[in-house]
Each structure stands twice: as structure tokens, then as C-alpha cells.
């Protein structure tokens, strides 16, 4: 009787392990996919077409993605800042952009230039004034971003 009980114990412990590994794999796959999706920091935007857009291979780690929707509202890292030509929104953006720029650091060669690169995903139908506002903020004395990339869909390569 005692012998039989021992056998059952071993069997049940083996069974536990398999399902646990399965669940673990499921969780790993789930979290990998979720982080992959959130990394894009993407707001739904109708990107313009550009046939000469280069493929976005190995982007730098310290790249900031700025989304501008059709109405001109700016989204960074999931936060909606509203239209940049509003005074309050502008101040909030100014502070946060400065923080992002300082986090990455500056190149100390003559003119002070930030190492931060910015990818702008602006909607095709947005007015240029909002993009212009953003560029003004990015080139401000305390932010000093120089390199700016614009996202576009490439109709040829898709």
C-alpha cells in the first residue's frame, strides 16, 4: 500500500512540470509580444507616401518618437500633449523635450548639439504649422536636436 502511494507521487510531480513549462512559454511569448507592440509607441496615423523613404533598420536606442495626428495634437510615449501652438501645451512640451534631450546628453564639439535623434510620425493631413511648432521646440537652445527623421509609407517596397 505504501509502495503504491510513492509511485503516484512521482507521476503527479512530473505532470506538474510539463504544464508549468507550457504556461511559462505562454507567458514569455505573451510578454515578448506585448513589449514589442508597446515599443512602437504608435498612435493611429495616416502616414504620407514617399517613394524614397529608407528602410528603418537598427534605429538608435536613444531615439524619440513623436506622433502628430490629423488635428495637430502631439503624442509622445503615450502621452497626449495637445496642439503645440497652445501656450500651456507648449510649455509642457518644452520641459519634457528638454528632459529627454538632457537624458541622452550633448556632443561637445563647438556648437552644443544633442545626441538625441527624433522620428516624427506626422499624419499626411496635418497642417505644417504643428510640425513647424515641434521643430521650433526641438531646435530651442536647451534641447538642440539636429537630426530629425520623418516617417512615411513606401508604396513601392510594401
Amino acid at each position: 500500500m505504501a509502495k503504491k502511494k510513492k509511485k503516484v507521487d512521482i507521476e503527479s510531480s512530473e505532470m506538474d512540470l510539463t504544464s508549468m513549462i507550457d504556461v511559462c512559454f505562454l507567458l514569455i511569448a505573451f510578454f515578448i509580444m506585448v513589449t514589442e507592440v508597446s515599443k512602437a509607441e504608435v498612435v493611429e496615423i495616416f502616414l504620407p507616401h514617399a517613394s524614397h523613404a529608407k528602410e528603418d533598420t537598427d534605429p538608435p536606442d536613444n531615439r524619440l518618437i513623436v506622433n502628430i495626428d490629423r488635428k495637430g495634437e502631439i503624442h509622445i510615449k503615450g502621452q497626449n500633449y495637445g496642439k503645440p501652438n497652445n501656450k500651456e501645451n507648449k510649455q509642457k512640451l518644452e520641459i519634457d523635450l528638454q528632459a529627454y534631450s538632457e537624458e541622452v546628453g550633448f556632443e561637445e564639439e563647438g556648437a552644443k548639439i544633442s545626441k538625441l535623434t527624433v522620428l516624427v510620425r506626422a499624419d499626411a493631413h496635418a497642417e505644417y504649422r504643428y510640425v513647424q511648432c515641434l521643430m521650433m521646440l526641438l531646435s530651442a537652445e536647451k534641447v538642440k536636436v539636429q537630426k530629425i527623421n520623418y516617417s512615411a509609407n513606401n508604396p513601392i517596397k510594401s
Binding site: P48, A53, K54, I68, A124, A126, S139, N149, Y150
Partner: protein, 199 residues
């Protein structure tokens, strides 16, 4: 005894299969649809202290927009010579298209909206794509001609100066044309820089 073992084996077979199926379901639900999203490179003008403040720009691309009914007409001038005009939808006309979809559940509205946007996109591709648009080809030729007569060639700065009411896609198509022409230093003018000659 033999019967018991058989039953156990059958049970063991099903579990991993179900697990794998769940894994695949989750994978395909979460996988974002693949789209070729590319980028165009450009630079911001560096004003203020330092060597970069020297204005050595040689080429100017000026864009100005006028609203005419449902359309926005954007005139493109290269080095103060008018090159071409682009026609796009005005903001009220676009708002009307977006208003076709009354809510997230309105599938008929969404289809109507997407259909209108698709026709708009076809018109844009005909205007802005260098492979199909005569206007863009002329623009690129003018840029290349100007660069061959210049000491710096295609390394020379091209300053893009657009007024605030220009639709963004027109600005981007100019950036696209400049990249296609082979220019490496495409820059944007600050709005207060007075380089626009109204005549």
C-alpha cells in the same frame, strides 16, 4: 492494467497540442500587420552660437498655400522661380470625410471614409510620386541642374521654407523629391527667417 496505460497516453497527447494552439492564437492576435514604414532624413537649422550658425544655404525651396473652395493650392518655388503647383483637399473638406464615420461601430461610415481617403491617396500618388508625376520630375531635374553648377554639388544645403497652412504631405513630398535628387543636407527654415520674396 494495459487498458489504464492506454487511456493515460491519450490524455497526455492532447494537453501540449492545446497549449501550442493557444500560443499560436496569442501570437497571431498580437502580431501587428506588417507595413513598410520608412523614414526620410533631414536637419533642423542650428541658430545661435557656434560655427553652425553661418548661413551658407544656396538653394531655397519655398512653399505657399492658398485655399480655393474645397482645395488647397500649394505653389512651389525653387530659388525664387515658380516650378509647380500641387492640389490637395482643404481642412473643412477633410473634416467632412472624417465625419462620414459617426462612431467606432459605424462600419458603413468607416467604409465610405476609407473609400474617399483612398481616392485622395491615388490623386496624391499621381501628383507626388516621382515615377508617375511630371511635376516632381521637373522639380528634381531643376534641383540636379542647380547642384551641378554649384561648387558643393549635392552636399549644398537646401532650405525648405513652407508657410504654416501647407498640408504636411506636400512638405514631405518635397523632402522626398530632394532625397530622390540625391541631396544630403535638406533643412527646414525657421518660420521667422525672411527668405521669401513675394514676387
Amino acid at each position: 492494467m494495459a487498458k489504464e496505460v492506454d487511456q493515460e497516453e491519450v490524455n497526455m497527447d492532447m494537453t501540449p497540442m492545446i497549449d501550442v494552439v493557444f500560443l499560436l492564437i496569442i501570437f497571431f492576435i498580437l502580431m501587428p500587420p506588417k507595413k513598410m514604414e520608412g523614414k526620410l532624413e533631414s536637419y533642423l537649422p542650428q541658430t545661435g552660437s557656434g560655427a553652425a550658425s553661418e548661413p551658407d544655404v544656396k538653394f531655397y525651396m519655398v512653399l505657399r498655400s492658398v485655399v480655393q473652395g474645397e482645395d488647397v493650392i500649394t505653389t512651389v518655388k525653387f530659388n525664387n522661380k515658380r516650378v509647380c503647383e500641387f492640389t490637395t483637399l482643404s481642412i473643412p473638406a477633410l473634416d467632412a470625410i472624417y465625419a462620414l464615420q459617426s462612431g467606432p461601430g459605424d462600419t458603413a461610415g468607416r467604409r465610405a471614409k476609407e473609400a474617399r481617403l483612398a481616392t485622395e491617396h491615388v490623386r496624391d500618388d499621381n501628383q507626388f510620386d516621382p515615377t508617375t508625376s511630371e511635376k516632381v520630375r521637373i522639380l528634381i531635374n531643376k534641383m540636379v541642374d542647380a547642384a551641378t553648377g554649384h561648387e558643393k554639388g549635392k552636399e549644398a544645403d537646401v532650405m525648405i521654407d513652407a508657410s504654416s497652412n501647407v498640408p504636411f504631405k506636400v512638405v514631405l513630398s518635397i523632402l522626398n523629391a530632394g532625397t530622390g535628387a540625391g541631396f544630403n543636407n535638406l533643412k527646414f527654415a525657421a518660420p521667422d527667417q525672411k527668405i521669401w520674396n513675394p514676387n
